[in-house]
Every structure is written in C-alpha cells, then in structure tokens.
C-alpha cells in the first residue's frame, strides 16, 4: 500500500471535562499516537469536552498532573485542527476567549503562527463527522 492511500482521516471526539475521569488524558495520548503514525488527525471538542481547552487550568489543589499544556504542543505533531463547537461553549457560558491560545507554525507561509482552534457551528460539526474515515470517541 502506498503512503498516499494509507493516510486516513482520524477524528477524536472529546465530550468530557478533564480530571473527573481519565478520558481527556487518554484521548490526548491516542491523538499523539495517531499523529506519530502520520495520519490526518483532527480533534473535536463538544459538550463538556470544551473544558479540556480552558485557559489557566491549575490542578495543584487536586493532586493530579496538569496536562493542559500538552494541547499547545499538538501543532508540533502536525495536529492543527481542533474543532470547538460554538453551541457547546455557549451552553456552558463560555466563549473562545476562555480557551487556551493554541497555535501551529505554517511552513508554507514562512512559519507564521496560526490558530489551531476552529470554532464551528453544530451543523459544521455534523459535516466534519461525515468526512472522516475513523472516529474515536472519548
């Protein structure tokens, strides 16, 4: 099989807040595995999953590792599409400004820093799901 045909579109759907369960951390690790295998990786954050990208997470009081900084490193692993659902943010009283600034360097444009987070409507999320080869849910 050639490289071109073995590359698949993987979408990781995240619907839970971090720290209460292991799902968010596990998802992040599996996202990195997908990226290591040079797949076309993207991640979706909807429902409580939007809390995974909150700015200013401080886990010092709960005795758990703060893994939120890892999201900022995703760009270095070619993970550049983080779809955040607009309705899920609004339902929770959040806006894009509450989330971490996550960027990637675009090598085609002199390594200009570009935002990885893409705010999408629910209808766009439906379309994104429909375009995937593989969906992994967390």
């Amino acid at each position: 099989m050639s490289q071109a045909t073995s590359k698949k579109k993987f979408l990781y759907i995240n619907r839970r807040a971090p720290y209460g369960t292991i799902y968010a951390l596990e998802s992040l690790e599996v996202i990195l595995i997908g990226a290591a295998f040079e797949q076309d990786v993207s991640a979706a954050f909807l429902d409580d999953g939007v809390f995974q990208l909150m700015n200013g997470q401080d886990t010092s009081g709960v005795g758990m590792k703060n893994f939120s900084k890892t999201y900022r490193a995703l760009g270095d692993y070619e993970v550049r599409k983080l779809y955040v659902e607009r309705e899920s943010l609004a339902e929770r009283g959040l806006t894009l400004e509450d989330l971490m600034p996550i960027t990637y360097e675009d090598e085609d444009e002199d390594y200009a820093e570009k935002p990885s987070i893409r705010l999408v409507d629910r209808s766009e999320m439906v379309r994104i799901i429909s375009e995937q080869d593989v969906i992994l849910s967390f």
């Binding site: 759907i13 619907r15 909807l46 429902d47 629910r122 999320m125 439906v126 379309r127 799901i129 429909s130 995937q132 080869d133 593989v134 969906i135 849910s137 967390f138």
Partner: protein
C-alpha cells in the same frame, strides 16, 4: 456514505443520546444498545425526539438488550427497528464510519 452512531448509555443518566440526535446527517443510522435501550420505550421522555429524527435517519435497537431488561419489542417507541447481533454487524458493515456516543 453514511455514519452509524451508537448509543450504549441511558439518556436519563447522560447526554449521549441527546447530543447524538443533534449531530446526525441525513441518511445516518443510530443503533441503541446496552443501557441505551431504557430511553427507547414508547411514551418515555425521549420517544418524541427519536420520532422526530426518523424522517431523515433510521433508528435501531438491539433486541437482546431489550429482552434482558424485560422490555418487550412491542413496547418500544414507534418506528424504531429491532435488530439482533447479526443486524448490528450488518449496520456496521454498511456504514462508512462508526461514531460512538459514550
């Protein structure tokens, strides 16, 4: 090609079913199994939401999980199709992708 969405948790416990129904594309299929079946009884709080989606999507339920919980096939929400494990496999094989709503 369409997506098969799966639901295995009670909609009374989690938002999975509600969220799934809001993310369906036309022609998609939904399979409800395990604890998800408790949200598919005729006249239950989710029956109307299931009915509303049936104009554009097909909704199925796994018979073994209904039976295990003492729910009769004739007591499930209108238009929901009962499938066996073979039918589950057919739905997966016929879909381009599977999206699990945990």
């Amino acid at each position: 090609m369409s997506t098969l969405h799966t639901i295995n948790k009670s909609p009374f416990e989690r938002s999975s079913l509600t969220s799934c129904l809001e993310h369906l594309a036309e022609g998609d299929a939904v399979l409800i199994f395990e604890d998800g079946v408790v949200g598919a009884r005729k006249g239950c709080a989710f029956a109307e939401a299931l009915r509303a989606k049936q104009t554009s999507c097909a909704i199925y339920i796994l018979g073994a999980d209904l039976a295990a919980r003492g729910v009769k096939s004739e007591d499930i929400a209108e238009g929901v199709g009962v499938v066996d494990y073979g039918g589950f496999v057919d739905l997966v094989a016929g879909a381009a992708r599977v999206c699990a709503w945990l």
